[in-house]
Amino acid sequence: MATYNLTAPLTKEDTKKLKAGDVVYLSGVLYTARDAAHKRLVELLEKGEELPFPIEGSVIYFVGPTPPKPGDPIGSAGPTTSYRMDSYSPTMLKHGSLGMIGKGKRNQAVKDACVKYGGIYFGATGGAGALLGKKIKEAEVIAYPELGPEAVRRIVVEDFPVTVINDTYGNDLYEMGREQFEVKE
């Protein structure tokens, strides 16, 4: 398992070298979206309309942060459970997005889309909201402010720690890890 420092937006050269279990420190620009925002984003894509951010190489962070304290860009900001985005993620990947950050397993359609379109599903540590929030240096709501914590934000991160769960080769760290430690009788 290797460690990489990468800058988002990503390229297919970046994602091709990553394997399930690798640790990545991400810097650069990410976009936040949960289910309610994904529903709207995918509707736009299906109608052939522009998204509120450039989708090419984009990394989407599944998060609904706490409100920022005065002077902070954002509050606590750890990942939310990703399966709720399973029905939307393949469309996002098909249109050029290359990364997702969340927690918990994805369905086969998402794993297949990662292989087909060169995308990566990264896991961040759920419940480490204070630590992860501090890695976010700038945050700005760019769409759907009425969704509150679920609005789409453009965030700038520095050395944001994630682990590759699903890579472009069809590997799944959750299955590999469990296989290694499960005690079978």
Partner: protein
Amino acid sequence: MREVEYNDIVNAVKNMIKVTATNLPEDTLKALEEALETEKSEVAKEVIKQLLENAKIARDEERPLCQDTGLAVFFVKLGADVRIKGGLLKDALNQATKEAYEEAYLRPSTCEPFSRANLKDTLGYNLPAIIHLDIVEGDKIDIEYAAKGGGSENVSRAKVLPPAAGKEGVIEFVKEVISDAGGNPCPPITVGVGIGGTFEKAAISSKHALFRDVGTKNPDPEMDELEQIILEEVNKLGIGAMGMGGTKTALAVHIESNPCHIASLPVSVNVQCHSSRHAHITI
């Protein structure tokens, strides 16, 4: 009859909510430190290290431990000899929830079930609180509180087993729930198991079981033994911290058992993530 001021309840509960959002309780911290010692997976160890570092940042800088600051859940034992001056207990708990969550920059996480509209500007910031009330002897108000996150709640399940299923049936059901959950509920988890009663009694018991401190013993020797058996079985699943594989999937299993109907064996499994934010005050 002892008189307690409504505002005194509001202030005490507000303080408890704010402190709990940023301070991981001692029992959970200790359990995570022990898990770091015994965990065999290097990947899972790294996750647990991040959780301990997160707890330190949250405490030192007063930042919420997790962005999911939960729904406010209360179990209250109200002494029959208490009279609350100036308002109702339920209103005091809701007011404390609304004010604490808003003042401490915690997330408003309540919404309409279908439109998903946030309730912060209509019903009130993070309202309603979930309140379980019991009237007991005495002149005190005993309030247990937890900030209950959604990820671990989403994998929780209840079922009424046939009596013949027995202990084996309960063990298998808990294993099935935790196995299906994988990394989604943010392990290492605490598993609350409610046994017996009726369908809803089992569910409420499984919730209340999560309020007990990790590391404490079940006073019922039979249930204590069952807790140890289930814990061992769950940790054989190999799920590990955040589901990345490991030997510490659960920190503890807590059981609350009740008498039940001769025809039924209800069982409920309520899961608590590693960020087990719970507290207790007596007024």
